[in-house]
Symmetry: C2
């Protein structure tokens, strides 16, 4: 055994007095090799503690068996769950997952894409940053012949596949649910309406209102950030209205939480006086004493499906650029913050 643990097929070939090419073939189970030689090689390989050098393999084949995943922040539950899905789907196929963060900055997003391409990844998965307003860097990925898959936050780029949830439907579902609970003046905490996902949630909200015969009231739509403070502020503004809402569909769980805290301070009873549904199914929503209804985006499934789309693409017969758009259905988790069905029974 050599010092630094770097055993190559050459070392094996010398020991066995055969050529390195033969060793390589034996190791790769090439059919045109004698069983005897193969066994000899495997035995020697094991004995010498040989390991394939995937770097050399990659350089030769042009396939690194690495993929990059770019997200705003990896320690957000939603993103880390997606990454988990990708890893679990791709791992068994021999891929490694390289992670990158953008911190919501387009410049770093561009930089991350560049370094990933330098590293010769076989594909890139990503959720675009909030500040991204340009698609040049995405096109570059395609130009290099690499596969690109968007998840959740996407832009329309020809040739790029995407996996998202149906945000329109999610908004529609949540709002309809509130209506079914007896809410009549439903507000909306909208998030950044420049982002496709928030726009779609908003439209789903409007659609549900109209379909049930309610006239949307622009005063009921609040621009919010995804934070507790923003939710509290929105709640206060909401309560200054002449005709106070009796429910809200919030495009963020954090905003929903802030609103709940604020409304409680003001003595509003939930869900009796006011129903609320959040978005993302953040872990905390189900742990509260008053669990918060929320829309689950099934991130694990999202990651797995994104990975499957990638696999189809790379396995497919070469240059045929497929573009696949997968739209997943969200799941509404109804919890106490919007569930009036058990109110009368609860006589504790």
């Amino acid at each position: 055994m050599k010092e630094n643990g770097k055993v190559t097929i050459y070392d094996i070939s010398k020991k066995l007095n055969i050529s390195a090419a033969t060793v390589s073939r034996a190791l790769n189970n090439n059919p045109k090799i004698s069983i005897k030689t193969r066994e000899l090689v495997f035995a020697a390989a094991k004995e010498m503690n040989y390991k394939q050098n995937r770097l050399a393999q990659a350089l030769k084949s042009g396939k690194s068996k690495n993929v990059g995943v770019i997200v705003p922040y990896i320690n957000r539950n939603f993103f880390s769950s997606i990454i988990r899905g990708i890893e679990e789907e791709l791992g068994p196929h021999g891929y490694h997952v390289i992670i990158c963060q953008t911190h919501e900055q387009m410049e770093t997003e561009i930089e991350q894409i560049n370094t990933l391409l330098n590293t010769q990844v076989d594909g890139i998965f990503m959720s675009i940053s909030k500040s991204t307003n340009n698609t040049e860097h995405f096109k570059k990925v395609l130009k290099e012949g690499k596969c690109l898959v968007f998840f959740d936050r996407k832009m329309d780029v020809p040739g790029v596949s995407s996996v998202v949830i149906d945000d329109f439907k999610a908004g529609y579902m949540a709002t309809s649910h509130l209506i079914s609970q007896g809410c009549r003046r439903i507000a909306h905490f909208a998030g950044d309406l420049n982002l496709e996902i928030y726009k779609n949630r908003h439209e789903g909200y409007l659609s549900a209102l109209k379909e049930h015969g309610f006239k949307p009231n622009p005063d009921y739509v609040f621009r919010t950030l995804s934070s507790i403070e923003s939710g509290a502020a929105a709640a206060r503004k909401m309560w200054e209205l002449k005709e106070k809402p009796d429910g809200v569909f919030s495009a963020s769980d954090y905003t929903a939480l802030g609103a709940i805290q604020e409304l409680r301070k003001m003595g509003v009873r939930i869900p009796e006086d006011f129903c609320i549904s959040g978005f993302s199914n953040e872990p905390f929503t189900k742990y509260m004493e008053m669990p918060i209804s929320s829309v689950d985006q099934t991130p694990l499934r999202m990651g797995k499906i994104a990975a499957q789309v990638f696999l189809e693409q790379v396995d497919s017969t070469e240059k045929l650029t497929i573009e696949k758009k997968v739209v997943l259905s969200p799941e509404l988790m109804v919890r106490n913050s919007s569930d009036r069905s058990l109110l009368k029974v609860a006589g504790e």
Copy 2:
């Protein structure tokens, strides 16, 4: 521009009628190259949209500029925060982070290590799985001359650095805090005492009791899992005791949460009748209507420091195998579930 975007230093050298070596040197800012040539090369490189192939570089240099991070599950807040810390510290140094999951299985842990070594990573960061009871695979990493750094869950292996928090101190702090709040019969939800971290928390708990003149009561120590159900079960068992505890230091936030829910059902007032502190500072603990006290393990910092340890190691003058043990101090986050200081004031 070539078809597949694969521009090499050869393409540049041809275009400029110089040798590839000169191009390489110019690109690497080798001092012994004329400024004029350098500028010519840079201009051509930019124009031809040249990108360094890090794979080839890595094969040549023996340094891939990739590190692997192995954790049980990446979508646990604690782990994803550590990974974030590692990425943010290492990214600026040109490293990429490859993530792997063990699902708490030693066999997959071994496999992940092997494939990471095959990929020629420059180092491996990891938190060992619960079922790991053997150090052979760790030694193998060292034998290959790669740097290994444990974080949080570690084993003692000569030559391996580690970054952990002081679990003993954490247990001591939390327990002392409960005592300071007037608790006299303090229980402990212990987790898996075979794991070093839980053992240390338990010992910190015992130490605090003794130091304050309390005699530890074995009946007050409960073996628990890190789950809500386990916490509820422990609470019930606890309440069957003749002398009921009046506080608990839980080694897990989930267990603490389960206990709180169960105790409330039984009409126990928190923190008046019973104080509780959890562990990990999971996001949900601070969002509850009754925020839960918890020990913050400062995972972001932990990741950054682990990365720094790695950098010191690889930058150091070669084979000198350094072994660095960093022990971080935990931070106790005191919240309502164990804070009696404001009880009399609260007259709302």
